[in-house]
């Protein structure tokens, strides 16, 4: 079962670049790009870091595919 992500949407809402978000999250820009395109599912630690950066619950950023 895959994961649907809203990282791209939330990042654009805040006007951040992938590089800015990557620096804040302590990962590479490539990792942020892969998360946004759904190729890479982050660890729980990174998911929680992103949730903290976006100031939103983790389940509003990542959802299991098939769940509404």
């Amino acid at each position: 079962m895959g994961v649907i992500t809203r990282v791209n949407e939330l990042r654009l809402e805040r006007g951040w670049t992938q590089a800015q978000l990557a620096t804040e999250a302590g990962v590479s820009r490539q990792t942020i790009n892969s998360i946004e395109t759904g190729r890479f599912e982050p660890s729980l630690t990174l998911a929680l870091k992103l949730a903290r950066l976006f100031d939103t619950p983790v389940e509003s950023i990542f959802q299991l595919a098939g769940e509404s």
Binding site: V27, S28, R29, Q30, T31, S34, R39, F40, T45
Partner: protein, 161 residues
């Protein structure tokens, strides 16, 4: 922070910070020196294996490599082991500073290639018990491992990167 380029075969050097460049640079230099020394030292063994396989088991003529180095010949292997160990330690230090995608790719590639190489080595050793052909060659297994590592690394980068 590490960024893959060329389908995972290389990386964006300018994306690394100063410390990353230092660690990766020392690791790559030490590994290259260690690999070159190992190649020189193993020439006899590789030639011998190839000759035996190609000639139906006949003993090969001497290559004279060991004579060229004289008493220093065993130290070629010691220097190679030291250089490769330095390369490994610095790569480990470099890896620790990278993010989870890099480490997931590395774990996937190293895990699969090592498992398959060990399995191949074991099958080769068992098959060689009968004496039909020479026992496992470290150099050939190391080469197979390197090829598998590259293939699985590229596969992981295509999947996640």
């Amino acid at each position: 922070m590490y960024e893959f380029t060329h389908k995972g075969l290389w990386f964006n050097w300018s994306a690394l910070d100063r410390k990353d460049k230092q660690l990766a640079g020392i690791s790559l230099a030490a590994s290259s020196i260690g690999g070159a020394l190992l190649g020189i030292g193993s020439t006899d063994g590789a030639y011998s294996l190839g000759y035996r396989l190609g000639s139906g088991g006949k003993a090969p003529p001497p290559t004279g490599i060991a004579d060229t180095f004289g008493a220093a010949f065993p130290w070629v292997f010691v220097a190679s082991a030291v250089a490769l160990s330095i390369g490994l330690v610095f790569w480990w230090l470099f890896s620790r500073r990278q993010d989870e995608m890099f480490n997931r790719v590395q774990n996937y590639a190293v895990g699969l290639s090592s498992t398959l190489t060990i399995a191949l080595g074991m099958m080769w050793a068992i098959a060689a018990f009968g004496g039909a052909f020479p026992g496992p060659s470290f150099m050939i297994l190391a080469f197979v491992d390197l090829v598998l590592l590259t293939v699985f690394w590229m596969q992981a980068v295509r999947k996640w990167g």
